[in-house]
Symmetry: C2
Subunit: 436 residues, 2 copies
């Protein structure tokens, strides 16, 4: 089927934050897109809230764009070439993309939740119908990490990919690090500034980041990883004492997603991590995102930018729309589809190995160190360093331990034993440490 | 013409550093390339030094690769799909690529010198023959900046692109900044370590960086910029006192290439630049490269990694080979070709506007400041700050001025006048300052 128009028609589903940003980028930069590729016309906008939809069309002077409350209009229009799903969620969004692909149209989405849970299904539908499904905006917003991994870095074996892929938690941890404030008050500040949602669970518990790591791990290791396979641990237990001790030891605490291939299994997880201050990710501040890639040919590289927001996310979606348009006019839809052609198991979190930072509150008395050392040794945990303490009230003191690389289950067992020692008042939640 | 093999044949011309790295990446990672795209076989290696060519084929166990001293063998073989030019220079390299494209083969190159001078000609030949010409490795080695700008960020208007795109000068300036050593001894150290060539002219005078900025400016503004249009100024005049004063003022001195659209003209240049320490480019150390992009939708982003070296550059070339291969099997060669569809003039360096850092050695006597201020005012240069001094021998002292934004020609005129003042012993070469 030869394409015989000199422009592309696109239909957008959803005029919320990202939908609005995408429409704005496509409309306001229509001239540069036409110069660099070909004209892209927004033929349709599907939005249940017709008033909201009309308002953005009016604001941008999009008089020729048809507004509808029914997304099926976009799929059923034979002259509409691309459907852009920006409503979010995993239900209706799936139906929209599946219907578009099944009709042979290309689809673009920013939906990390959907791609991390049902991405494999959708990419199979795309392949079946020789259509494109692009989702660059689903990971790290405007940063072109998916294309870079799937295309430019495709000749590399990936050793490890680490990312600050959630702006909310990076904003909170940056503020905690710089002000010394505690988690609760910093979360409140983030909410007041619009950096955290009223219900911050998906961000602060690491679910949002886990979605993105499922997508990145799938791409890096060519094996489908889904959200339920990604261990995630939140930042709610990070105290300002953790932050202060981390600084004393030369580290910043960051919320990091990582994936690596470890002994034939995929190790993928999201959790707070102590990073040496010299690590490029350690200086990524505020709500910025960054992905740090360690691979065998390119060696080390970092991609840094805005991971959220209407226009940065709209930049990525609009880029995908142009890529889809270029494929349509060149008749090469499906040129780079799903690359998950292997079946590699995911390592259980209990079997992963990390260094850990552990903060203990103990009674400041003779024999405490020996008791701790005995319990750690019994569980097979060896100490890299036993570091510092602050005097507390009532004859108590803080001790900070950094372990050598330790199996997760061994660490938990050691901390259980330690918690039962009479000299131990409290055991802080352990935080992993990255040295390398 | 439908492609009917289930693998791609590639021929490499040149087995030097980058050629060797590319062959190594394609050979050692052949399995991951086959998993992600399709098998890519190195069918030919053309290398005048047959012994060198044979040595690398032997080392990598490439028994099926044909070695030849004549690159035309690769072009004339109807079963060879892609020709990779890695011999450098602008003469024979041009002939190789032009012949390959004219034969309908796709071509890949890492040749910044060629692309910055004759890229337009070659891309026209590619378009004429419906073939691909890729050159991701020509700018910033393994960092995928060209693809990111041409494809993912294609819906953005670029405000400014600034890059540390020469590893040698960044290595030298990093060492000078961290050790306080002078330029000459640091260059010697860089040469001993293999970071600078015996004849360092192209690097330290900014010619290498200017080639890369010609390519980036062409892409960003969709108008062909050639090497001769890029103003470049070297780092040989940077003294350890400049470095020390810059630190005192909160800056790092970096060798930066930049391009921007200024009042309907392209402003593109390479020179040392004082960057605030908080700027992401200021912390790019040693021989690393980074490109900082400021654009209207994505806002600010940075791409960081290895800008040179056999394997990082080989990573980019091999990525291009896979892109070319994907286009061939999908019958979409020329999918993204030359995007220089406009004709925008380049601004004369005399008409560019910058803030400047100027170090003056003056006699420490009454009325000096007034004399300086008079001369600056007469030339239309206003001072942002007049900052500090060290006492020197013989009643002399240093003064450091940072100007407000000033036309280049106005600054030069002011410095000429100042140099003639009786109280002025010496005028240091001005260095531009970036605040923003």
């Amino acid at each position: 089927m030869t394409f015989n128009r000199d422009y592309i028609n696109v239909g957008i589903v959803g005029a919320g934050t990202v939908g609005g940003g995408t429409i704005r980028v496509l409309a306001e930069n229509a001239d540069v897109i036409a110069t660099r590729a070909l004209p892209v016309k927004i033929k349709w906008l599907a939005e249940k809230d017709l008033q909201r939809g009309q308002a953005i069309l009016d604001e941008l002077g999009l008089k020729d764009t048809k507004l509808t409350g029914n997304w099926r209009d976009l799929v059923e229009d034979p002259d509409n070439d691309i459907v852009v799903e920006l409503i979010g969620g995993t239900g209706l969004a799936f139906d929209v993309i599946a219907a578009a692909l099944s009709a042979g149209k290309s689809a673009c989405t920013a939906n990390k939740d959907l791609m991390a849970t049902r991405g494999g299904e959708l990419l199979a539908i795309a392949a079946e119908h020789h259509a494109d499904l692009f989702f660059e905006a689903a990971v790290a917003g405007g940063i072109p990490i998916i294309t870079s991994l799937k295309e430019n870095l495709t000749a590399n074996r990936f050793n490890e990919v680490m990312g600050i892929v959630n702006g909310t938690t990076n904003f909170i941890l940056t503020k905690m690090s710089e002000s010394g404030a505690d988690f609760a008050s910093t979360l409140k500040e983030a909410q007041d500034l619009g950096y955290a949602e009223a219900d911050p669970t998906a961000d602060v518990e690491g679910i949002d980041a886990a979605r993105k790591m499922a997508i990145l791990a799938s791409i890096c290791f060519n094996s489908r990883v889904t959200l339920d396979q990604v261990y995630h641990e939140g930042i709610t237990h990070i105290t300002n004492w953790d932050t202060a001790y981390a600084h004393d030891l030369g580290y910043e605490i960051k919320m990091v997603g990582l994936c690596r291939l470890d002994d034939g299994m995929i190790d993928v997880r999201v959790h707070p991590l102590l990073l040496p201050k010299s690590h490029p990710l350690a200086s990524v501040r505020d709500s910025y995102n960054a992905i740090y890639v360690d691979c065998d040919a390119l060696e080390k590289a970092m991609f840094y930018g805005r991971g959220a927001g209407a226009l940065p996310t709209g930049s990525a979606v609009a880029g995908d729309v142009v890529t889809a348009a270029r494929n349509i006019v060149n008749g090469c839809q499906g040129r780079v589809g799903c690359t998950c052609r292997l079946h590699i198991p995911v390592r259980d979190i209990n079997d992963t190995v990390s260094q850990y930072f552990v903060r203990l509150e103990v009674l400041d008395q003779v024999g405490v160190f020996a008791s701790l050392a005995d319990q750690l040794a019994a569980a097979g945990v060896s100490m890299n360093s036993l570091l510092q303490k602050r005097a507390l009230a009532d004859g108590r003191t803080d001790i900070v331990i950094i372990t050598h690389p330790t199996r997760h289950s061994d660490l938990l067992q050691a901390l259980d034993s330690i918690a039962q020692l009479p000299c131990v008042v409290a055991v802080g939640d352990p935080i992993r440490v990255h040295n390398g």
